[in-house]
């Protein structure tokens, strides 16, 4: 286990480095000069040179990368071109909101997905199974940004309360866990949860079906174990894979929240990305992508570790 953990940790280093190379090159695949959005169109050549120098764009690219990486190691993600505030400061504000949304969505999606998956796996080829399968296909096929709009429409047309957008009354104020604030979280979280719900349903259904068809289940039944006892064995066998899928889904939601956040004006990282893209604020874009990708890398590591720890069948060390 320890050997496996160390090997897995060592494997993260080149991946993290490569991820930072990709993030760094984002600025350089961008067409035009990265300074074009802050310089006036009639800027003198001297001013352009001076700005390039102050942002470090006059050095060779490998040197720029090394300097950039060194700064990141010290927690300096650069300065936002649009707001002139440190990128890290902008991101920390937003990341909390996105994490909260993604966690809520994963929780809803995983709970419902497990429920549908177990029911469908247990009652294969019945009406319940067909309903669960349909729900899961709908979940993975729905354009979730459209579903968000439809939910808003449903609540505003069929019900008299116009669902609010943003993150709580007075959007920028600190989040509190009370009904006033949670009200704002419900719709975006439900909208976001359909994809993990569909995928978890699919996975758990297949897992349960597989497990139930194995011989040890017959042995357990022959031994005189009750249905509840057998169920516990099924849960134990399905848990590692289901949890791993959930972990990955959380990562996808963290990275993919931009569309939902745009629909519901949720002030998270997606909102930040949107602003960065349309103001051509490349340092902010680069920093946000880097932070989200690093979250994903760490999450992958966690998922692998937890899976190895709780599943004695995996001996990868």
């Amino acid at each position: 286990m320890l050997v496996y953990l160390i090997r897995r940790l060592l494997y993260v280093v080149p991946i993290a480095l490569a991820v930072s190379v990709v993030c760094f090159s984002l600025v350089h695949i961008a067409p035009g000069d990265p300074l074009v959005s802050i310089l006036p169109p009639d800027a003198s050549q001297a001013l352009v040179e001076q700005m390039k120098k102050s942002y470090g764009f006059d050095r060779p690219i490998p040197v720029q990368f090394a300097i950039w990486l060194g700064k990141i190691a010290q927690g300096d993600l650069g300065t936002s071109i649009a707001t002139s505030r440190p990128v890290l400061q902008e991101i920390t504000k937003a990341v909390g909101n996105t994490l909260m949304l993604a966690f809520a969505a994963t929780l809803i999606g995983f709970t419902l997905g497990c429920f549908f998956g177990f029911v469908a796996g247990y009652f294969r080829d019945t009406l319940v199974d067909r309903i669960a399968v349909t729900v899961s296909i709908l979940g993975v096929s729905v354009p979730h940004y459209w579903l968000g709009m439809v939910l808003v429409i449903c609540f505003s047309v069929l019900l008299p309360w116009r669902p609010p957008t943003g993150a709580g009354p007075g959007s920028s104020a600190a989040w509190v866990w009370d009904w006033e604030h949670v009200k704002y979280l419900i719709l975006p979280a439900v909208t976001m949860s359909v994809i993990p719900m569909g995928i978890v349903t699919r996975t758990v259904r297949a897992l349960v079906g597989d497990i139930l068809s194995q011989e040890f289940v017959d042995a357990l039944r022959a031994k005189g174990l009750t249905d509840w006892g057998v169920f516990q064995h099924v849960v134990k066998n399905a848990a590692p894979t289901a949890l791993a899928v959930m972990g990955l889904q959380l990562g996808y939601l963290l990275g993919g929240s931009i569309l939902i956040e745009t629909v519901f004006s949720w002030p998270g990282t997606g909102f930040l990305l949107n602003a960065a893209i349309f103001q051509r604020d490349l340092p902010l874009l680069q920093g946000t992508i880097l932070v989200l990708a690093m979250f994903f890398v760490v999450l992958n590591l966690l998922v692998d570790t937890v899976q190895t720890a709780i599943d004695p069948r995996i001996r990868r060390g």
Binding site: I15, V22, L26, I29, S141, M149, S156, V157, I258
Partner: protein
């Protein structure tokens, strides 16, 4: 040498005709195929369907409800005919949804089969590079590349292609590695077949099917993501009809004509679900173990 007269064999039905027969027996797949075909044909032949001009709006007939005489599906926020815009919108939406998967199928297969067949260092080089892209959630990667390149149809196709190459290459590599180690490949090599012949005859014929099925399962995601990029303003520009962009520009109208505002998304949903179901149908039809 005397020619040996072979006994006349009954005409064998090939694998693909068996697959086709099984597909036609699958009601869900056939239904989805008909729906998709109708949408695709309507998009291709849109100018000949006698529809209104999808670009011509009018201030006085904005946001007419569904069922208004002359405007079957109402009008949008600029008074343009929704039916015409939905049909014409299919052209760009289907194009930017399908093209990335096609590109990725070609590039990913090329990379994966090469890596799987050659093995060794080249395999490690290709597959480790691909691992890097797995460190990004797919939506984030698409938005990162699209965002850096700037808005545009071509840019969104490029970014989605980059998103879909790694998974296809991984599948291609794993099936190629499996096939390469089978006995008939050794037999072919022993009988003097060169690497090109082996790849063309023995490898590709066996791996293209599974890779293709996997690629079709990505179409639905690609449609949703492509329209999503347009929705964010990273795809095409107004007044071009495109489902994702239409959904975005109609957002302001959700309290006036909610059902019209939801229409473009419904099209994305229908297309995406049909592709998903067809891909499932194709997968089980090609499964010889059944």
């Amino acid at each position: 040498m005397t020619a040996i007269a072979l006994p006349a064999l009954p005409p064998t039905r090939g694998y693909w005709s068996a697959v086709g027969r099984r597909l036609l027996q699958d009601k869900v797949t056939v239904a989805c195929g008909i729906v998709l075909l109708a949408i695709i044909l309507a998009a291709i032949f849109a100018p000949y369907l006698g529809l209104a001009d999808p670009y011509r709006g009018s201030i006085i007939r904005r946001l007419r409800p569904i069922g208004t005489p002359g405007y079957l599906l109402g009008t949008d926020e600029q008074g343009r005919d929704m039916l015409a815009r939905l049909v014409y919108g299919g052209r760009l939406s289907l194009f930017i949804g399908l093209l990335p998967v096609f590109n990725a199928f070609v590039i990913g297969t090329l990379l994966g089969v090469t890596a799987g067949f050659v093995g060794g260092r080249l395999n490690a080089a290709i597959m480790r590079t691909i691992d890097v892209f797995y460190a990004f959630p797919s939506v984030l990667l698409a938005i990162a590349i699209s965002g850096a390149l700037g808005a545009g149809v071509l840019n969104s196709v490029v970014s989605l292609t980059i998103v879909f190459v790694p998974p296809i290459a991984r599948v291609a590599e794993s099936v190629t590695t499996q096939v390469r180690n089978l006995d008939f490949v050794d037999a072919a090599r022993a009988s003097g077949a060169g690497p090109i012949t082996i790849i063309r005859v023995h490898i590709l014929n066996n791996v293209l099917g599974p890779i293709f099925v996997y690629a079709t399962s990505l179409i639905s995601v690609s449609m949703i993501l492509a329209a999503g990029l347009s929705f964010l303003g990273l795809g095409t520009k107004p007044p071009e009809p495109e489902w994702g962009l239409m959904l975005n520009t109609l957002r302001t109208a959700i309290y006036v004509q909610p059902w019209i505002a939801a229409l473009p998304g419904t099209m994305i949903f229908i297309v995406s679900i049909c592709f998903n179901l067809m891909s499932d149908g194709l997968r089980s039809a090609m499964d010889v173990r059944r």
